[in-house]
C-alpha cells in the first residue's frame, strides 16, 4: 500500500517514519511537502513528530493552517486513515481533526523516556489488529504532551470510545506513577468520532525494530496495512470482511460500520 509522510519545516521524525514504512515494512512511501494540496493516490497519511514551524504561537498551531492540512482534512473526511505522532498529534488537535488540546508537561520538564501504553480501542485502522488491554512499549520525547480536555468534552470522548491509548505500567495498570506528563486520565492517544484519525504522543516509529529495544510500535503500522488491504480485498474474500468493516461475514450486504461505531 502507499503511505504519505507529511513534511513541515522543522519536522524531524519524517525520515524515521519513511524508514520504518519503506525499509522495514516494505511499503511504498511518498514524502508530502507542507505546500502540497493533494493527497491523491495515498492509502494512509502520517504526520510525523518534530517542531513544525518552530511550534511558534502554540505547538502545531501554525502547521495546522498549512495548505496540506486542507488536503488532510478532505482525506480524513472520506475515511482515509491518518496517524499523528507527537507533534503530528499536536497538529491534528490544533486543526480540530481531533478533540482536546496540549498543555506543557505538568512535571515542568521535557520528558524523554520509555513508557507503556494500554490499547483502549481497537476500532481504528491503527489498532484494529491489536487486542484491547494490550500493553505496548514505546518512547516519548516531548515538552508539551499533557493532554487536556475540559470536563464535558472529556466525558464525551470517553463515552464515545475515542480514547485509544492510556499510559500504564508494564502490567497494564493505569496509575498516576505511569503518567509521564500529567495527561488527564492518563490519555496518551485519541481518535476522531469515526476512528480513522488517530493521534498519540509516543513514537511508534522509534519502536519498530528489535535493535531499538521494542518492536511494539510496528504493530500500529501493520494494523493499518492489514486494514487497508482487507478493505480493498473484502468484496473478494469474506474472512477479511470483518477486519475491513467491523461486520461479520453473515452481515455482508449491510452498510459497513464506520470505524469507531460501537456495539449496541
Amino acid at each position: 500500500m502507499r503511505f504519505g509522510v507529511v513534511i513541515f519545516p522543522a519536522s524531524n521524525c519524517d525520515r524515521d517514519c519513511v524508514h520504518v514504512l519503506h525499509t522495514v515494512l516494505g511499503q511504498e512511501v511518498e514524502e508530502i511537502w507542507h505546500e502540497e494540496r493533494s493527497l491523491d493516490g495515498l492509502d494512509a497519511v502520517v504526520l510525523p513528530g518534530g517542531f513544525a514551524y518552530g511550534d511558534y504561537l502554540r505547538a502545531g498551531a501554525v502547521a495546522a493552517r498549512a495548505p496540506v492540512m486542507t488536503a488532510v482534512r478532505a482525506f480524513a473526511q472520506v475515511g482515509g486513515p491518518v496517524l499523528g505522532i507527537c507533534n503530528g498529534f499536536q497538529i491534528l488537535l490544533e486543526a480540530g481533526l481531533l478533540p482536546g488540546a496540549m498543555l506543557r508537561n505538568a512535571v515542568l520538564r521535557f520528558r524523554c523516556t520509555t513508557v507503556h501504553v494500554r490499547v483502549e480501542s481497537t476500532q481504528t485502522p491503527f489498532t484494529r489488529t491489536l487486542r484491547e488491554g494490550q500493553v505496548l512499549q514505546m518512547p516519548i520525547a516531548h515538552g508539551e504532551g499533557n493532554y487536556f480536555a475540559p470536563g464535558s468534552l472529556l466525558s464525551t470522548i470517553e463515552e464515545a470510545g475515542q480514547v485509544v491509548f492510556r499510559y500504564c505500567d508494564a502490567d497494564g495498570r493505569v496509575t498516576s506513577d505511569a503518567n509521564p506528563n500529567g495527561s488527564v486520565r492518563n490519555v496518551a492517544g485519541v481518535c476522531n468520532p469515526a476512528g480513522n484519525v488517530v493521534g498519540l504522543m509516543p513514537h511508534p516509529e522509534r519502536a519498530s525494530e528489535e535493535v531499538l529495544g521494542s518492536r511494539d510500535g510496528r504493530l500500529l503500522f501493520e494494523s493499518a496495512i492489514t486494514t487497508v488491504i482487507a478493505r480493498r480485498e473484502a468484496p473478494k474474500q469474506s474472512h477479511l470482511y470483518e477486519i475491513a468493516t467491523g461486520l461479520r461475514p453473515s452481515q455482508q450486504g449491510r452498510s459497513p460500520r464506520p470505524f469507531g461505531a460501537r456495539d449496541d
Binding site: 506543557r104 505538568a106 487536556f148 468534552l153
Partner: protein, 109 residues
C-alpha cells in the same frame, strides 16, 4: 492603521506549568513571597482602523488563541487613550470587563 495588542493567557484553573517554573525561579532568587505567577503572551498587530472588534475576536478564536485552554483580551490605542475589550474572565478584585489595561512598559518602574 491602528496598533492593537492581544494578551493571551491560559484560562483560570488550567495548569500553567510555565508560570509554576517561573515562580520557582523567583523563589530561588529569594522572592519567596511571590505567588500566583501566570505566563501569557502578547501579540501586537497593525490593523486597518475600520476592522471590527468581531473580526479581531474571530482572528483570536481561529488562530491566535486556543479557546479550549486560553482566553484573550484586546487592547487598542484610540486618540491616545487606552481602551480594552476583553474575553478574559474578570478575577476577584479586578475591575469589570472592558477596562482592563496593562501598563505600558515605559510607564513601568
Amino acid at each position: 492603521m491602528t496598533t492593537i495588542r492581544i494578551v493571551v493567557t491560559l484560562k483560570p484553573g488550567v495548569l500553567d506549568a510555565q508560570g509554576q517554573a517561573v515562580q520557582q525561579g523567583l523563589r530561588a532568587l529569594g522572592y519567596e513571597s511571590v505567588s500566583g505567577v501566570r505566563v501569557g503572551k502578547w501579540i501586537e498587530l497593525a490593523v486597518p482602523d475600520e476592522m471590527t472588534p468581531d473580526t479581531i475576536d474571530a482572528m483570536c478564536e481561529r488562530f491566535l488563541a486556543n479557546p479550549l485552554i486560553e482566553e484573550w483580551r484586546v487592547e487598542r490605542d484610540e486618540d491616545g487613550g487606552e481602551r480594552a475589550r476583553s474575553r478574559a474572565t474578570p478575577r476577584a478584585g479586578e475591575a469589570g470587563v472592558g477596562v482592563l489595561a496593562l501598563p505600558r512598559s515605559r510607564e513601568v518602574g
